[in-house]
């Protein structure tokens, strides 16, 4: 194994990417666009849900419920004096909920506390809810419950929560690690695959295999190029995450980069592996959706693995991004060391060892059946 041959391959791959400005832009823009697009559209914060609020009691208590609702960014509250038919109002004015606090709400509320649960009528909130979007409906239910909790000694149960791994982890915080893994592996797989298929088509492979270059040197050359690219892409994701979305990174940034690069290495191996199944560039393109779809749908990137139907769940364990997501989230969100998330860490290591070993076998075949 000679360093100068490895660096020759690395330099060549980087030069090729540098020359193809479209690829270069794609490589740098993809992490930025993915982060912005997913960040904004999946920020998880539902806002501007239109609610009609009718207070027929007009007390300090009902006033404070209204204030809580108004302070909640999820809602745009319209205060109305009266309502005859809440259902009609919801339909005609396109509210997603109509909340009515009836006359005597306050007195019943306090009386209930004074007299005990079993004996008296409760204060009632009249809620008319558009259930057509379950997520919006759930937000309204939670917002209303929150407003009631804000009343103070209102709740019958006092929940004392201990929140682990960052009190204020938002969707975007745990999404950034997934985007990093996804973008880095996508670029590494696709560009390695295309590059190697091109070597076969153009015949440059023959030149390489009669030269002193060894298979391990060739693979290492590719691994180093895409490791460097992965580093740049992670920087783009983290910069946008930090500046635009103010994401919280609890862990070590070096572990984050290290784990991303490790995942890029496995992705180069996978790209090499897939190159064995394609003789032309157009055949190679067929593999792109095969790589992208399972990664997006089954890796726990968009929704937790627990939200995937039980029948499909075993499939999540063969998607490499599942392990990368676990590992990078543990490292970045929970602030753990890689080995403290053994499933993710070992999963990624197995992915790397397996694909690189198989890639080496695959290259032997395309180098001619000479051994």
């Amino acid at each position: 194994m000679k360093l100068h041959r490895i660096s020759a391959v690395t330099e060549r791959v980087l030069r090729q990417i540098w020359h193809d400005k479209r690829v270069l832009v794609f490589m740098l823009m993809l992490p930025a666009i993915a982060m912005l697009l997913f960040g904004y559209s999946f920020s998880g914060d539902i806002t501007d849900v239109r609610i009609a609020f009718i207070d027929e009691d007009n007390t300090d208590l009902t006033e404070s419920i209204l204030e809580s609702l108004q302070q909640d960014q999820a809602f745009k509250v319209t205060v109305l004096e009266t309502v005859d038919d809440p259902e009609q109002l919801l339909l005609s004015e396109h509210y997603q909920a109509v909340i009515r606090l009836p006359d005597k709400f306050t007195s019943l509320y306090y009386a209930h506390f004074a007299m005990g649960v079993a004996t008296s009528a409760q204060g009632t909130v009249d809620l008319t809810l558009d259930e057509s979007d379950p997520q919006v409906a759930a937000t309204i239910r939670m917002g209303l419950a929150d407003a009631m909790m804000d009343l103070g000694e209102g709740g019958p149960v006092d929940i004392q929560a201990r929140e682990l791994y960052g009190v204020e982890v938002r969707f975007i915080d745990s999404f950034a690690p997934a985007i990093m893994g996804f973008v880095v592996s996508l670029i590494s797989i696709v560009l390695t695959l295309l590059s190697i298929v091109r070597e076969k088509v153009d015949g440059t492979f023959s030149r390489i295999w009669v030269s002193p270059v060894r298979r391990a040197e060739f693979i290492l050359g590719y691994v180093i190029s895409f490791g460097l690219i992965a580093l740049v892409q992670s920087l783009v994701v983290l910069t946008i995450g930090k500046t635009v979305f103010d994401i919280v990174i609890n862990g070590s940034i070096f572990w984050a980069f290290g784990c991303t690069i490790l995942f890029a290495v496995g992705s180069v191996g996978l790209g090499t592996l897939l190159s064995a199944l394609a003789q032309t560039e157009s055949q190679a393109i067929i593999f792109f959706p095969l790589v992208i779809l399972p990664s997006v749908l089954l890796s726990g990137m968009m929704w937790p693995v627990q939200a995937i139907p039980r029948l499909l769940r075993p499939l999540t364990y063969i998607v490499p991004l599942t392990y990368s997501n676990r590992l990078l989230r543990a490292v970045m969100v929970k602030g753990l060391a890689p080995w403290q998330e053994p499933v993710g860490f070992i999963g990624v290591l197995v992915f790397v060892v397996l694909t690189i070993a198989l890639a080496s076998v695959v290259l032997r075949q395309s180098a001619g059946e000479r051994e």
Binding site: K2, H4, R5, S7, A8, V9, E11, R12, R15, Q16, H19, D20, V201, D202, G203, T204, S206, R207, I208, W209, V210, S211, P212, V213, A367, G368, E369, R370, E371
Partner: protein
């Protein structure tokens, strides 16, 4: 000619792809300093034979030696000493001429300054000096082929395996290429090349005629002409006629 000094050597070489016999029982030995032309139609097995000589493919049976080393097993011993030009033009289309040469020089362990020196020499020889920064996919077919030849010559190999080096070139450029071959040859390089242009056979020291995977005739251009004249009773044949006469022979050369 003794086998010990042969640069390229094949002994009873057979190559099968499934049921297809691509090369059948070829025996040949090319001594140092020769230009040897493998001549024959497409599909005659020329490329497969050259790939075996270069170590890219292993023979199904028989043995292949390059510079005395058994190929492909001992190819590591001789990999620095020969140059190979594949039939595809085999250059990186998204790299410039200079960058292509840089890469192929680096993998042979040449220093940057030595590569720069050789690049200047070769590009001026190939009349590509002013196109040094041009990307390979912007080059004409002939320019690309000259670059491809330059890539094979860069590390100054003593033996050259050139697979159809003049294919698709216009007659003037082909003559120019042959000028390079003779120049390299007089500088001591041994060259084995394939071609299906029969008039090029005239310019080789020795010629091997291939058909259906077998080497059906071998000799200097004049020897082959004499052989064909004897068979047909005609005199003053050109290479094309020689080829037609010798390939019609029912049993010839290595085919049994």
């Amino acid at each position: 000619m003794s086998n010990a000094t042969a640069i390229f050597q094949a002994d009873g070489v057979v190559k099968k792809f499934g049921d297809l016999r691509a090369v059948h029982n070829v025996t040949m030995a090319i001594p140092r300093g020769e230009i040897y032309g493998l001549v024959g139609p497409s599909g005659a097995g020329k490329t497969t034979l050259i790939r075996m000589l270069s170590g890219l493919a292993a023979p199904t049976s028989g043995s292949v030696k390059l510079l005395g080393s058994l190929m492909p097993i001992d190819r590591r011993v001789v990999e620095h000493r020969f140059g190979y030009m594949p039939q595809e033009r085999a250059v990186y289309r998204d790299l410039s001429i200079a960058e292509n040469l840089l890469f192929f020089g680096q993998i042979y362990g040449m220093t940057r300054s030595r590569i720069a020196e050789r690049t200047r020499e070769l590009l001026s020889l190939m009349k590509l000096s002013d196109r040094c920064k041009q990307r390979a996919d912007r080059l004409s077919g002939g320019e690309k082929q000259r670059l491809s030849l330059a890539c094979a010559l860069l590390h100054e190999p003593e033996a050259l395996l050139l697979d159809e080096p003049t294919i698709g070139l216009d007659p003037a450029l082909r003559r120019e290429f042959w000028g390079h071959f003779h120049q390299l040859n007089s500088a001591g390089r041994t060259i084995l090349l394939s071609t299906h242009y029969l008039n090029e056979a005239e310019w080789c020291d020795r010629v091997g005629l291939m058909q259906h995977g077998g080497l059906i005739a071998e000799g200097t251009p004049n020897e082959l002409k004499a052989q064909a004249a004897k068979h047909s009773g005609q005199a003053s044949l050109d290479m094309e006629e020689v080829f037609l006469i010798l390939t019609q022979e029912p049993v010839a050369g290595g085919v049994s």
